[in-house]
């Protein structure tokens, strides 16, 4: 499956901005399920200072600064991504229970690890801990508990948790903002994909299971007989769980499915704060308004 993603963000200011510095995580990263063969930015006005690097979590990060006065900034990221679905048959592998996974991390704390375990486990370990936007709490644990039956395989636990979030929570863009605390989302039973991902992550961490946040896109399939509209797609977010001997598995609680061939990954981190697609600080500018358009275009299908 191959896609071209065009993601455009436009800022308009009421007064000139003299200087702005930005960080963009808008270029898809590579991993076993995904390969990004080409990706570039078109930025207007052209930044005098532009640099690409990898962040702490291995995501692709672009830093750029506009140093001349401007009243509009347009940032467009264009990427071509191939997905290789179904390479892993995780259901055939031996299944660890969630208690085994939890104990595994607790007991290996502070011990010397073998070479191949080292990096992956060390990375996984940070996803058990609280992060800026996700704090494990008794309330989250209470909500999650029905899924965490004794000796249940972790894969089943997570699938059940995803299913419960999907059916218990109402998708409602008007209900939350970036700043809505997780406990409020839990109390209201409403939110958006970002909230559902954070919620699942918080539930898993409350039981000592490593879980991380994934930002990306979802291909929109037009209803039968309707033409495909350009630019109506959107950013999306879901979560992933670390299962020893298997690795990271993705789950999309907003759609109650495991990402397969329509989820394009941009970046991952402990929560949204680690992977904000585009953030910047502008000096001056007065009032600003913002518009975003995302287009996920399927180039050709590998399977059908």
């Amino acid at each position: 499956m191959k896609y071209r993603i065009t993601h455009t963000t436009t800022y308009n200011y009421s007064q000139a901005v003299g200087l702005c510095q930005n960080q963009a995580r808008l270029q898809p990263r590579n991993f076993w399920r995904q390969y990004c063969g080409h990706s570039h930015f078109e930025i207007e006005p052209t930044p005098k200072d532009y640099r690409e690097l990898l962040d702490y979590f291995g995501n692709r990060l672009a830093y750029f600064a506009i140093q001349q006065p401007h009243k509009q900034l347009v940032v467009t990221a264009i990427s071509e991504v191939s997905l290789f679905p179904g390479r892993q048959r995780h259901e055939l592998l031996p299944q660890s229970t969630w208690q085994q996974v939890r104990d595994y991390f607790q007991e290996s704390s502070g011990q010397e690890l073998s070479k191949q375990q080292t990096q992956a486990l060390l990375e996984a370990r940070q996803y058990i801990l609280d992060s800026p936007m996700v704090t494990a709490t008794p309330d989250l644990a209470d909500y999650a508990r029905p899924s965490f039956q004794a000796d249940r395989p972790l894969l089943e636990v997570v699938t059940d948790l995803m299913q419960r979030i999907y059916s218990d929570f109402t998708y409602d863009p008007a209900s939350t903002t970036i700043a809505t605390p997780l406990l409020e989302v839990l109390a209201q039973r409403r939110g958006v994909c970002q909230d559902f991902a954070h919620l699942a992550i918080g539930c898993l961490r409350s039981f000592g299971i490593p879980a991380r946040y994934v930002s990306g896109y979802l291909e929109t399939v037009p209803a039968l007989g309707k033409p495909r509209l350009v630019g109506v797609d959107a950013s999306h977010a879901w979560f992933a769980v670390y299962i020893p001997d298997i690795g990271w598995l993705d789950f999309d609680p907003t759609n109650n499915k495991m990402p397969h061939d329509q989820h394009i990954t941009l970046a991952w981190g402990r929560d949204y704060a680690d992977v904000t697609p585009l953030k910047g600080i502008a000096f001056g500018g007065g009032q600003h308004s913002l518009s975003v358009s995302v287009d996920v275009l399927r180039l050709h299908s590998a399977v059908s």
Binding site: D49, Q67, G110, Y171, C193, K279, L290, V292
Partner: protein
Amino acid sequence: MHSSPIELANDIGVQFYETRLGVYDEMVATEHKVLPYWQDFINALETMGSEEIERRRREAQRLLRENGVTYNVYGDTQKLTRPWRLDPIPLLISNEEWAVIDAGLKQRAMLLDFILKDIYGEQALLKKGLLPAELIFAHQGFLHPCRGTLQNQPIDLTLYSANLVRGDKGRFWVLDDRTQAPSGSGYALENRTVMTRVLPDILRDIQVHRLSSFFKGLGKGLANIALHNKDNPRVVVLTPGPFNETYFEHAYLASYLGYTLVQGDDLTVRDGHVWLKSLEGLQHVDVILRRVDDSFCDPLELRIDSRLGVTGLLEAVRRGNVAIANPLGSSVLENPGLLAFLPKLARYFLSEELILPSVATWWCGQPRERDFVLQNLDKLDIKQINRRQDNGFLAGNSLSAAQKEALKAAIIAKPHLYVGQEQVSPATVPAFISHRIQPRTAVLRSFVVANGDGYLVMPGGLTRVAQDKDDVAVSNQAGGISKDTWVLASEATNPGPPKPQLLRTPPNRVPVLDAITEPLTSRAADHLFWVGRYLERTEAVARLLRTVLLKYQDMLEFKDTVDSTALAALLHSLTHVTMTYPGFVSSHPDCLEQPQNELLSLAKDSHRAGSLAANIHAFVQSAYNIRDLWSQDTWRSVDNIQYRWNLRVVNGEIVIEQLQSYLDDLITGVVAFSGLTSETMTRESGWLMLGSGRRLERALALISLLRATLVQRYDAAVQNQVLEAVLFSTDSLIIYQRRYRSFIELSAVLELLLLDESHPRSVTYQLRLLAEHISALPRERGQRKLSEEERLIIKAYTDLRLGNVVDLLKVDDDEGIYPHLERLLADTTKLLWGVADTIARAYFSHSQTSQLMTANTIPEDEL
């Protein structure tokens, strides 16, 4: 008094010195006998006697206050600064004992540097299990964007500080390590400076290691880490600002070391480099001595809500374009959980045992340690690994049963966030309290700086003692007392008598280059401008108030209607000049007949905008913002103005009759400040800004006075009184009488106060100087056109010069005012306001606000 001379000499109470059972004491150890190395000092004190020591203690407090040494107290809504307190009895440490501390601190600093490099580098300690990952990852000081940003310096941890206590066996322990932005070295230096003033005789006889070598080392150490311009790097001190608790020290060190003191928005990042926004344009910054917590240093990559940082700073660091001491991320080493692992890490990195042990610490992230802590809660102090605002630890034995259960539950829920620590009973030191020597708990903060490939330890430090006898904890926030720390020199290393310290020039600069002046930041320019304005406002109000009081006395004495009409005019003008409406302009008749309360309020009510007290406060605040720019003498004159006014007027029980002489004194104080600045400031941007503020404000105040008093037409008798008062208020009565030798005429007064270019109290004189200052201010090169502020001031100046008194006083008989005069004064005021605005826009670029933009594009996903 019945005491014999011998008893008098022994009145400091050494014989009654009662230490606590089982607690080591610095002076008498555990034996209740003065230790040999204290003997000379105690003898000297006994000879001096308690009265004399108390006198010197007060002298020390006076010097500290005058030098503006303060420690701001957090959470103080009044934003009050607390005077620094210094005990005249230092902590004495023998040379032999210091050698151990010195080696121990160097070893610890080296070890922490290794750990820092690893955590932000390859993380081998985590991979090898030498440090548990949770301990690091869960600590707020671990800033993941900083990984890979250390610049391969031989030493990355430039500054290090440790709080030391002596335990009951007399051994020194490390309470905690400070690596974020260690404070206190400046206070230690100031303490020593003051001690040299108040105990010169004792310091001459007892050989004490000097501190200046440490500060030379600090200067060299900071120059060393520069990645560019190594020969002559520009170093700035980054402060959170005057409300920070240790702001005094930031200003003090900047001034002492010859660096520019900056706040976050004085700096900007362009092309991946850090630049200082100065009046002369952008200046490259090579090294930042950071006193802002690291997570606040860059809103783009660290805390997005920070207003104290520099956007893009971390990216500049990443590219190797600026060096920061300490590097961003170094607060990860302040994690108390690390203490439990240091012995193992010392063996791993250095193959050594720790010379200075840490207070025994159990990190609850390990099951065995957690269980130990839970079982021994009563005997331990419990801390969170993340330092909290309340700065607290919980003493297990002070908790109620319910609190204990809550704490246990919290530990069990997230054990990796807690440590248990042994409760230490710190040694006591002798302190001079209530005319007696008494034992008090003490903590010694030591200071270490990287100096090339090794570390240099300050021979001394900042000792703080608890205020009350039974306090075991010591904190500045709670009002502790500080002490100088004397490391005694052995005979062999006799350092000689203390010399006055002369270290005002940056140590690494070639003498030829010393003529370089540090650039003036736009923030400093802003504050200088306002210092000038508030100064003139203060003087104008003080003079007018004094004039009004004189008139008021006249009226009480002679009960003449002419006097009372003139007084009413003056009272009105006082309200206009201070803009404290309704005041005397109010229609209520009482306010003119019983003006005392309103007059006193204008003098002492510091919460009332426009009052003298408020103006003085604003003047001192502006000056304090740029504390580093003032000479010692100049600052003392600033302090005196506020100190006396607060003492006598604001907080004093004064009656109106006393105000007169206090106003005289205030005016003398203001003049002293003006004189000192004009005698000590070089005629550069800073002077021009101060001068511009003064001239602008003096002109505005004068115009306001003239509008309130001269535009109105009066009977000849009243007119005469009003004119005389105006001349007196503007310090121009004598010159008028010398020049005109006649009855006071309105036209002549206008000539003198409005139009006379040679009279330093005239409006035209102010405008001429203001025009000169403005044209001398630095501006963008190649700009040939007049700037906006130049245009405005030239217009104001020219309009005045074209005015003549005859035209200005033309009037129709039925009019109560002089309309031409009023128009000229009003127009000039408007132009001057324009000048103030355009200066602010053109030069105070730091005030531009920033905003965060995030594209949050989540909410539209398809279901």
